[in-house]
């Protein structure tokens, strides 16, 4: 048996219960509404640089594929504000006249993601409010990353070049000194220069010869290293492009991203359910806390008979009852019920001051 009071509670505030049912889905729609979003993708072929175990940017793990190593390095860079600002400037979505705060805000809002789609394939995805901007951002990410890699290689190679040049100078000085020592020894012992002579087997002479040979090898090794560094320095842009080659340039999206059915229908429906829950909780709360007498059923347990019920007398018709007009009339004519009661006798006036 359904409680009449519960039904009365529901219908008494029906319009109030309808508010969450309408407002909550609308609120969800408003909060989840997004402008059209366009997505551009660029695919990059990634390989480990030849003759160098490490990629140009970041550290590599032997347990990860080249693409995974590069994705880690790229995502690390994308988490920095400076790299994002570089991307924004490269993409041309901020101008030189923009304030640093504007540039930073634009850079933070850019939606960019990098993921490994194969052992050597890396996909860069950029989303923006227009197809042109999405494409520009995706391209800018590749370009900025390549530039960053080139700069890293050049910086590293320049540092090595300086080191090897310095070491080579010292090694050549040592070699010159040892050659001078050898020449001095031969001037003092000319017979040692003849390999058939026993003087050529002198231990001091053999030690000087060995030192010169070793220093020659050191110098040769340094020269070789310096040549490698020079080669690396000179070929840095090319090698970076080779190890991070654009396979598919950033595409220009022709249509905005499709909104998922979950977002389009599921979230408003969840909002509706939440609104229903709020309404139900409100009804239950009002029902449980309402200890007033509303119907004859509420008088059960009281050992006094119900004589009757007097209807709520209000001015205006049924239409005015549930409209602001009804509330206004009720406020204006607060004594309406009492005047109606007095009018039953035909008059609401008495002969004031006079006896019967």
């Amino acid at each position: 048996m359904i409680s009449g009071k519960l039904i009365e509670t529901i219908f008494h505030r029906l319009w109030l219960l309808a508010i969450p049912l309408v407002l909550t889905p609308l609120l969800v729609l408003a909060l989840t509404a997004r402008a059209d979003s366009f997505e551009s993708r660029s695919t990059v072929w990634v390989s480990t640089p030849i003759g160098d175990a490490q990629p140009s940017v970041g550290q590599s793990s032997a347990y990860l594929s080249p693409a995974q190593n590069q994705v880690q390095a790229l995502n690390d860079l994308l988490s920095t504000e400076l790299f994002r600002q570089t991307v924004a400037r490269t993409a041309g979505i901020v101008s030189a006249s923009d304030s640093p705060a504007t540039v930073a805000a634009v850079a933070v809002r850019m939606s960019i993601a990098a993921s490994a789609t194969g052992v050597n394939l890396l996909t860069i995805t950029a989303r923006a409010v227009s197809p042109e901007r999405a494409q520009a951002v995706a391209s800018a990410v590749v370009t900025s990353y390549q530039n960053r890699g080139t700069q890293e290689v050049q910086r590293s190679a320049a540092s090595s070049q300086e080191y090897y040049t310095q070491q080579l100078g010292l090694a050549q000085q040592t070699l010159t000194k040892r050659r001078e020592d050898l020449a001095s020894y031969l001037r003092a012992n000319p017979k040692a220069a003849d390999p058939t002579n026993a003087a050529s087997l002198d231990l001091n002479y053999r030690a000087i010869i060995s030192q010169v040979d070793q220093q020659v090898k050191v110098v040769d090794g340094l020269v070789q290293s310096l040549q490698n560094v020079d080669l690396r320095l000179a070929s840095a842009p090319q090698s970076q492009q080779a190890s991070f080659a654009i396979q598919d340039p950033a595409s220009r999206p022709i249509a905005p991203l499709a909104v998922s059915s979950t977002k389009r229908f599921g979230l408003p429906f969840a909002g509706l359910l939440f609104g229903v829950l709020i309404s139900c909780m409100y009804v239950y709360f009002k029902f449980r806390t309402d200890h007033t007498i509303r119907t004859s059923a509420d008088l059960e347990g009281i050992d006094v008979p119900l004589l009757g019920t007097v209807p709520d007398l209000r001015p205006g018709g049924t239409l005015a009852r549930y409209t602001p007009l009804g509330w206004y009339l009720g406020w204006r004519q607060r004594d309406f019920a009492r005047r109606t009661a007095a009018s039953i006798s035909g008059s609401s006036t008495a002969n004031a001051g006079g006896p019967v």
Binding site: M1, I2, G4, L306, P311, I344, S345, G346, S347, P355
Partner: protein
């Protein structure tokens, strides 16, 4: 008599009061041998202010006067609100308190309602000691005096939970009608009031200002009682 042009609110009220007449045993027209019945003093009270006891008292007195063509006196014994006098344009007039104080005779404070067999006695000025006045033998005599001149004496009593004179005054009445306001009076308040009126003859309860927002078809479908 109700006419076709009579406002719906008044018709509804009169129908509700006729039910109260029957349920409270005030209707003697069904008797096969009509005879003049014993005059009755009916008190009307409620738990708190604003429940509509004065409205019900006025309506009850007026309907008894009209339906049974009986002499009815409506007495305002609520010295807190003086509502009856205000409704009939008798503000500031002497009334019950002056009669009980012995400064005015009953006839001098009884006002006849125009075009009706109904009289009104206002509360008068607020007495200094209403409790003593309520317990006085003078009040009992006064009520008997009014009953001798009328078939019904309807007394608008103070709100029961706001004045402890109510149980005393209620005992002076032949029956008491308790008014509860739908959606306002709590069951606890009603039970407390009825406990205070345990020595009085409570005729029954009238639910005032009842309204329902539930459509009739819903009530029929769910078998919900009013």
């Amino acid at each position: 008599m109700a006419t076709a042009t009579e406002p719906k609110a008044r018709l509804d009220l009169k129908e509700a009061l006729r039910e109260i007449h029957i349920m409270a045993g005030l209707d003697n027209t069904s008797s096969s041998t009509p005879q003049k019945r014993k005059p009755l003093a009916i008190g009307v009270t409620s738990a708190t202010f604003g429940d509509g006891k004065t409205t019900v008292a006025i309506a009850l007195a007026a309907s008894l006067s009209e339906d049974f063509a009986a002499d009815v006196t409506l007495v305002d014994a609520d010295f807190h609100t003086h509502s009856v006098g205000r409704e009939y344009g008798l503000q500031g007039e002497d009334g019950l308190s002056e009669v009980l104080a012995g400064t005015r005779p009953l006839e001098a404070v009884t006002h006849r309602v125009a075009r009706a067999k109904m009289s009104v006695i206002t509360a008068g000025s607020t007495p200094a000691d209403p409790a003593r006045m309520a317990r006085s033998q003078h009040l009992t005599d006064l009520i008997e005096n009014m009953k001798s001149a009328n078939e019904y004496v309807v007394i608008d009593l103070p709100a029961g939970l706001h004045s402890m004179n109510t149980p005393v005054l209620a005992k002076r009445c032949d029956g008491v009608v308790v008014v509860v306001r739908a959606g306002h009076t709590t069951k606890q308040d009603l039970e407390r009031l009825l406990h205070l009126l345990k020595d009085s003859n409570v005729l029954g309860i009238v639910v005032n200002r009842q309204s329902s927002s539930v459509p009739a078809w819903v009530k029929r479908t769910l078998n919900i009682k009013n």
